[in-house]
């Protein structure tokens, strides 16, 4: 156990800080539509040109080949500099990219990874289905082998940015023989393929980035299969492992800044007694203190994740511990914000700003990336060794 920071890391931090100061976009990130895509890709391109895309990705695919700790330093400084939410680049950078690095063929890596890093393309995820949510392995979207193509028919749901995406990480059923976890295939789907229809879903926070995606005889080359046919479950688990392990690091770092902002808000807003600032209220003060301590602990957990990743390149179930805690803190921050805001809590401002909008959006925290209930199953079964669910 040590906090030793090498001279190299310190110099790296200074360099990151200086670059971000000059380059972080000043304008607010557009929340939706082609404007959001254009903004995200332009910002990704700018990071790439500056040499900052994929800090911990291998050099041969355009990354910088540095340590995960340096990647974390980057994220930490990014949050401090008020860098924008990664938005439409999330799946490419945090899901598809790491999965391809771990499991993709050389041809897939050479073709896709530089495009993701350069900000040429947007990826989306096609895992969940209307009848396969928490029970992901029961997915039914069918793919039939026809020559050197898979012919896909079915439906996916909760696909963020499907209407803006170029590629999709798609889970399909290639076999119904044996256990349901067998017979799933992880395949790269070109979203411009004929037979794909995208329908946006409006969410409770007002965004329409969520979509349903319908597939009718969509033809995908077999060369797009990542891993082996019928072995997609293990590939999907490494995808989700990256998400739960290291994919949320930037958002974890950003939460600390949110708590400090909320404390500042509580110092200036009049509290529940109508006279003193909100922070003078004992209960509000206690909850703010609790959150401040908890985001510090979240950072410590992230450092532990980074330390673990050095010993074990594909994240294990420990990522679910962090995911549960992170999602819970996030919701409590915005619940407390609603109390501190008082009457203003009812006022909805722009799509991209305001505590109330963030509060509504925070309902997704315990749902996305696997519900907190599923994460608890993972922790209980894979870390504590408790028996499987009755229903399995």
């Amino acid at each position: 156990m040590d906090l030793d920071v090498t001279a190299e890391d310190r110099a790296f931090r200074d360099e990151v800080r200086a670059w971000l100061r000059e380059n972080v976009p000043r304008e607010l990130r557009p929340e939706i539509g082609p404007e959001a895509r254009a903004f995200d890709l332009a910002w990704q391109r700018r990071q790439f040109d500056g040499g900052w895309a994929g800090v911990a990705w291998p050099k041969e695919y355009g990354g910088r080949g540095l340590s995960l700790l340096q990647q974390m330093i980057w994220f930490e400084e990014y949050a401090r500099a008020g860098g924008p939410y990664i938005g439409t680049c999330f799946v490419g950078i945090n899901h598809a990219g790491p999965t391809l690095i771990a499991r993709g063929s050389d041809a897939q890596k050479t073709f896709h990874l530089p495009k993701i890093l350069r900000g040429d393309v947007v990826w989306c995820q096609g895992f969940s289905e209307p009848s396969a949510g928490s029970d992901l392995a029961s997915l039914k979207t069918r793919a039939v082998l026809d020559g050197d193509e898979l012919v896909v028919t079915g439906q996916k749901i909760w696909t963020s940015f499907a209407q803006l995406a170029d590629y999709q990480e798609l889970l399909v059923r290639t076999s119904s023989e044996g256990r349901k976890h067998h017979g799933i295939t992880w395949v790269i789907c070109d979203m411009k393929s004929p037979g794909i229809e995208v329908r946006p879903i409006v969410t409770m926070s007002g965004g329409a980035e969520f979509c349903e995606v319908f597939y009718e005889n969509v033809r995908i080359p077999v060369a797009n299969v990542v891993g082996k046919i019928d072995d997609g479950w293990s590939v999907a688990m490494s995808t989700l492992g990256f998400e739960r392990g290291t994919g949320f690091i930037p958002e974890q770092m950003a939460l600390a800044a949110e708590v400090e902002e909320l404390i500042a808000e509580a110092r200036v807003r009049i509290g529940p007694d109508g006279r003193r600032p909100a922070i003078a209220d004992d209960e509000i003060a206690r909850r703010l203190a609790q959150l401040r301590a908890e985001v510090a602990a979240l950072r410590a957990m992230t450092l532990a994740t980074v330390s673990r990743a050095r010993r074990q390149p594909v994240p294990g179930p420990e990522g679910s511990l962090t995911k549960i805690f992170f999602s819970d803190i996030r919701q409590r921050i915005y619940k407390l914000a609603m109390e501190i805001l008082g009457a203003d809590a009812l006022v909805l401002t722009g799509m991209a700003d305001g505590w109330t909008r963030s509060y509504l959006r925070s309902y997704a925290a315990t749902l996305g990336g696997g519900t907190s209930e599923i994460q608890r199953n993972i922790v209980a079964e894979r870390i504590l060794g408790l028996p499987k669910d009755v229903t399995k």
Binding site: E294, A300, R310
Partner: protein, 340 residues
Amino acid sequence: MDLLPDEAQQEVIASTAALLAKELPVSRLRDSFSTGPERLSDSLWRTFAELGWFGLGLAEDLGGVGFGAVEEVLLARELGRALAPPSVIATLLAARCAARAPDGQRRDALLRGTLRAGWAEPVGEAEIGSRVRGRFQLIDAHGTQLLFAANASGAALLDVEAARGEPAACLDDAVSLAAATIDAPALAFVPAAREPLALRAALLTAAALTGIAEAARDQAARYANERVQFGRPIGAFQAIKHRCADMAVRAEVAWQQTAYAVLALRESLADAAFQVASAKAIAAQAALESSASNVQVHGGYGFTVEYDAQLLVKRAHVYERLAGSRTQQLAAVLAAPAPL
């Protein structure tokens, strides 16, 4: 930077855990409701001394083993897990206090295991300096010769005779308790500017609380795997398994924050006090909530003295009070400057 224990540190953990599992199994305390406060035998205490526990983090030229705060924290976590008497940690802190005062004679006696210290925990405002004044709770101080007291001004050693308290029954039967008003000269005093011993004390109690939270998690998981109802181990039911998962989350959160805080303290980082207060607040909550949840997992048995679940609840409350309560720590967390 590395937040995980290295090989030498894992060795400290393994050897400590093995000795405590043999000498101090938690089940030994099941009868304490009738036998009263526990006092470890002189021979076991000497064994601890011979293993260097009381001088684990003390430099070799001060008579210690020459490890640091990190190894002390690893030890305290195991002591918490085993529900070892809180006076073990008080004695370790007392030895450091004596060494830094300096008071070589008492230091050596504490390190050798011939002197023991209990806790004198301030109740409300207390003055801790070359003279100690105020109201205190004396915790696990029976059969000790010294008291360890600390607050933001510094840390002091007192003669236990200087604080004849009013004995009270403690909610934890295995721990002695007394209320005392003290107005006496300190035998040794270390101002916080020389070394912030109150922070070290808070950190070691955070580690002990983490050990209790982990013990609760492990007891619950074991019982949930063994206990069968409706034809299945109860751990198969989400109502139980999710409780257990939450205990795993709390233990992980408490441990990683404690691990970071001890490194921040060792490196004297500017936000060390904030990190330590956060660790104590979070570890106390983890121990209290997980030990309570563990009773629920054990059902009716958890409510009886025939099972160990209740022992963890009670000890969690004792450590929550020591070296600054959760409420006091949270106040310190909010009063600290914004973390970096």
